[in-house]
């Protein structure tokens, strides 16, 4: 039987990778992938806590809702990115800085 700690360590690694991706990537799609990693680490946490505590389904329920949210967020984000791409033909966040003074 796999211990709870294994899942927690994996999810912590996935979470850190996600944060690192967000901070490091210049491409907007890359940043979005980092966000997906964070949300998946959240799901993993919720599901493993639900499995290893006293049969509460709350955690699994939250995980399902977060999947839906992630899909909705990706849909809106891609629409926004497409809009930007039409304007500038690139999606590099370091170059999208029209409003810096």
């Amino acid at each position: 039987m796999i211990q709870l700690n294994t899942f927690l360590i994996i999810s912590a690694i996935v979470f850190s990778t996600g944060i690192f991706t967000i901070l490091y990537k210049k491409n907007v799609i890359g940043i979005l992938m980092g966000v997906e990693l964070i949300l998946n680490s959240v799901n993993l946490n919720f599901i493993s806590f639900a499995k290893y505590s006293d049969a509460q389904i709350n955690g699994q329920m939250i995980a399902i809702f977060i999947m839906i949210l992630a899909a909705a967020e990706a849909a809106i984000a891609l629409a926004i990115i497409l809009n930007i791409y039409r304007d500038r033909a690139m999606v590099d966040v370091t170059l999208i800085d029209e409003m810096k003074n």
Partner: protein, 487 residues
């Protein structure tokens, strides 16, 4: 309470949802020149929703839908506040969004999300309600598709928003892991009855504060705000500056009174559930928020950007009061949000209507406005001094209650830092007034304003003036609403 029984206490939200769907259908049936009617329809829906909400004050505090949401006077207060702010924004937007009917549908959807945020009682509901507000806000920020600034604003908003929601949810997962519960009050009981590892609790607390702090623009999660405020269409900026912020404050208050601290039965004393120094952390963040907001606002040349930093500073003042964890501070924040709504909307209304005449959003473009449009300039001056917190304007009373709450809790250093910040803010607010009245510009032609513009200006100006001398009804409304559902 089970789901069917709960429905009777959920009438405003159900009505708003129905109204939202009807607005979408009606929009399809209208010809292009008639589309402005969807705005009036949305306003009617909001008015009826507010009417239903006022009747909810009679309801005894209870948990609905198996504990997913609660209904208590504090929730009703924030629901009314957010619905009123959206109603004002509908009228705010009519001159600029005449043919874009789905805009009003998006506003109604955000209002639904904000009303849910005001009454969350479960980790799942916090995530869902905040995302409902967030997802619609991202679209609203990028509403002018032809304007590259608008697209950039929505891109920055969604990237920061999605990341901070994820971080917050990660914090929630640890809370769930520690307590095995998702209901806020069951979490509270679990935290009070057993000792948990304070380090993990502190980490979870910091992660959650990242998500909530992003919503209310707390330093260091404020990076999105100046760009979003500058890039988004001005009515949308005004909308973001009050409604979602008030809803974020509501979630923060719920979070404080349930997970971070426990409230005594009379609602007066707050005791921390775990020794994680939440108050000290919030106080430090509050000072950072207002200082950074004010110091950055000093350097701004664009008036919308200046207002963005000023709104960060105001979030700092409210956070300062919340950090002391007393019922008086919650009441002060509630009162301040009402006052802030009028003065901030007023300032944005002036910016919104004057930009086409002045041709620019630079502060220097306002040079000599006092001679070109006296009423507008005087009103702008009033809003600016009210935002600074000078008597006898509404902003002074609002700030007075905030500082009174902090001083009564004997956090003197925090109060002194807050007052110093207010002094700094006087410079950039007064600067706007100075260029309007003391300087004369090249163009001295009178700016004509329509009667609609004047009427809406008075809607903001009169409360800003009146609440400065007669604020008793609003503060007693806040006091009455200071009644939480406590599990």
């Amino acid at each position: 309470m089970n789901n069917l029984e709960s429905l009777q206490f959920f009438i405003p939200e159900l009505f708003l949802t129905a109204g939202l769907l009807v607005t979408i259908i009606v929009e399809l049936l209208l010809k292009k020149e008639q589309k402005v009617f969807t705005a009036y329809l949305a306003a009617t829906v909001l008015l009826i929703t507010i009417f239903f909400l006022i009747r909810q004050y009679a309801i005894e505090p209870a948990a609905l839908f198996g504990g997913m949401v609660v209904i208590d006077p504090m929730a009703v207060f924030f629901k009314i506040l957010t619905a009123v702010s959206t109603l004002i924004i509908v009228f705010f937007s009519i001159p600029s969004f005449r043919v874009k009917a789905e805009y009003y549908v998006l506003l109604l959807a955000t209002t639904l999300g904000m009303m849910l945020m005001a009454q969350v009682n479960d980790l799942l509901m916090i995530i869902l309600a905040m995302e409902l507000v967030g997802l619609v806000s991202y679209v609203l920020a990028g509403y002018r598709r032809s304007d590259p600034k608008s697209g950039e604003a929505s891109l920055k908003y969604i990237l920061f928003g999605a990341a901070s929601t994820g971080i917050m949810a990660f914090g929630f997962s640890y809370i769930y892991g520690l307590t095995g519960q998702t209901n806020l009050f069951e979490i509270q009981q679990a935290l009070q009855s057993t000792q948990h590892n304070p380090v993990i609790l502190f980490v979870a607390f910091v992660l959650i504060i990242a998500g909530l702090g992003y919503k209310i623009a707390m330093v260091p999660f404020h990076f999105w705000l100046p760009d979003v405020y500058e890039g988004a269409p001005t009515p949308v900026t005004a909308f973001f500056s009050v409604g979602p912020k008030a809803a974020g404050m509501a979630v923060l208050i719920r979070f404080i009174i349930s997970i971070v601290a426990g409230v005594s039965a009379d609602g007066q004393t707050f005791t921390a559930n775990a020794p994680i120094h939440a108050q000290e952390l919030l106080a430090v963040l509050a000072v950072l928020t207002m200082t950074l907001g004010n110091l950055s606002a000093l350097q701004q040349k664009n008036i919308k950007r200046m207002m963005a930093y000023s709104s960060i500073a105001h979030a700092g003042y409210m956070l300062m009061a919340l950090a002391v964890f007393t019922s008086q501070s919650v009441e002060a924040v509630m009162f301040y949000l009402v006052v802030y709504m009028f003065m901030n909307f007023g300032a944005f209304w002036v910016i919104h209507r004057m930009t086409p005449h002045l041709g620019s959003e630079e502060i220097t473009a306002y040079t000599g406005l006092g001679y070109r449009a006296p009423l507008v300039a005087v009103a702008m001056g009033v809003f600016m001094f009210s935002l600074t917190g000078l008597p006898p304007l509404a902003g002074f009373i609002g700030k007075f209650y905030l500082f009174a709450a902090v001083i009564k809790a004997e956090w003197y250093i925090l109060a002194v830092l807050g007052v110093l910040n207010s002094v700094v803010s006087l410079y950039y607010y007064a600067y706007v007034t100075k260029v309007m009245f003391l300087n004369r510009g090249d163009d001295e032609s009178a700016v004509s304003i329509s009667s609609y513009d004047t009427a809406l200006l008075l809607v903001f100006l009169i409360p800003t003036l009146v609440l400065g001398v007669y604020w008793v009804p609003v503060i007693s409304w806040a006091t009455q609403s200071l009644h939480f559902f406590l599990g």
